[in-house]
């Protein structure tokens, strides 16, 4: 039945999507729309379809007696089976302090790393443009406490550990002799990594005059 093949493919694609989302927490939807990410999901989908094909060729029924349910049992096993097989390591080789895994998972690690690099390169451009646009009318001295506090208030569930790390970066910026422009861009960039582009833009929009540079005295 064609629907079972579609579901098996979707199963694999969703697992691939889950991995991409876990790597790009700030704007997962943007990351998923990049060509390398789509390629990675397609690769996982094809692996699930291949697993389903193998199961059908060998006629494995997974012990299910009802013929109507056998197909769906095969779909579930193909989805999980492909996931487990692709992420399995047969043995580890130690090279100095480094542990190198040997097996299909090694291949997947390399694919995922190249996807990550490609996605990151593509998104670096988007992020740079977005940060300079959002932060163009923001004064670092006025915003460095108010803007993060407001954005975290909007999010409500940011882990304390992340907030502490952010606090250290903020202190580094506040005490650094860099120009106000670079400090403002770094503040925006660091906040965007944590809360995402939309929350940052909302925070800047809502705080508006509170964080704008003062007009030059006439």
């Amino acid at each position: 039945m064609w629907l079972e093949w579609v579901v098996a493919g979707l199963f694999g694609a969703l697992i691939g999507a889950g991995e991409i989302v876990s790597q790009f927490r700030d704007e997962p939807d943007d990351a998923l729309r990049t060509v390398p990410a789509l390629g990675y999901m397609l690769f996982n989908a094809l692996a699930s379809l291949f697993a389903l094909a193998v199961i059908r060729v060998f006629g494995w029924t997974m012990g299910v007696q009802d013929p109507a349910m056998t197909g769906w049992a095969q779909v579930v096993v193909a989805g999980f089976g492909a996931m487990a097989l692709l992420r399995a390591s047969i043995f580890n080789v130690r090279n100095g302090d480094q542990v190198i895994t040997i097996g299909p998972s090694r291949f997947l690690e390399i694919v995922l790393a190249s996807v990550k690099d490609a996605v990151d390169r593509k998104r670096a451009e988007q992020r740079g443009v977005a940060v300079s646009e959002i932060m163009k009318n923001v004064d670092f001295e006025k915003a460095w406490m108010a803007l993060p506090a407001y954005c975290f208030g909007l999010l409500q569930n940011l882990p304390q550990e992340e907030q502490d790390k952010f606090g250290k970066k903020l202190a580094l910026l506040a005490n650094s002799p860099m120009s106000a422009r670079v400090k403002t861009l770094l503040l925006g960039l660091t906040l965007m990594n944590l809360v995402g582009e939309k929350v940052l833009a909302t925070g800047v929009k809502n705080l508006d005059e509170e964080i704008r540079p003062s007009p030059p005295a006439s």
Binding site: G96, A149, K168, N175
Partner: protein, 108 residues
């Protein structure tokens, strides 16, 4: 009698942890020197970095610890005394810091 401020929620604890970090200043001077240097070369042996940033050993180690805690660099131990690398976020910082370094070089 002066009362000690006790944060009542996550929001308050964030603000007080930022204030603490801002006033701590320990290691922050060396941190920016290390970041500026890494913005140019992405990764470097610890020994080489130590000679380039020209700060005392204690400031240097405080700076490294600060950057590690902030999630901007990671240090990999090896037989040459360790290598410093920028994390993903550290690389974003380095790209932005290098804008200023490029401007300085253009003017200089």
């Amino acid at each position: 009698m002066q009362q000690k401020f006790v944060p009542e929620d996550d929001f308050g604890s964030f603000l007080s942890s930022v204030q603490r970090a801002v006033h701590q200043q320990k290691g922050q001077g060396a941190s920016m020197l290390i970041m500026s240097r890494l913005a140019r070369q992405k990764e470097a042996p610890v020994t080489q970095m130590m000679t380039k940033v020209k700060v005392s050993w204690s400031d240097f180690t405080e700076g490294l610890k600060y950057l590690e805690d902030a999630g901007l660099i990671e240090m990999e131990d090896d037989e040459n005394g360790g290598t410093l690398r920028l994390t993903d976020e550290g690389q974003h910082w380095a790209q932005t810091i290098s804008l200023e370094l490029d401007d300085d070089e253009d003017q200089g």
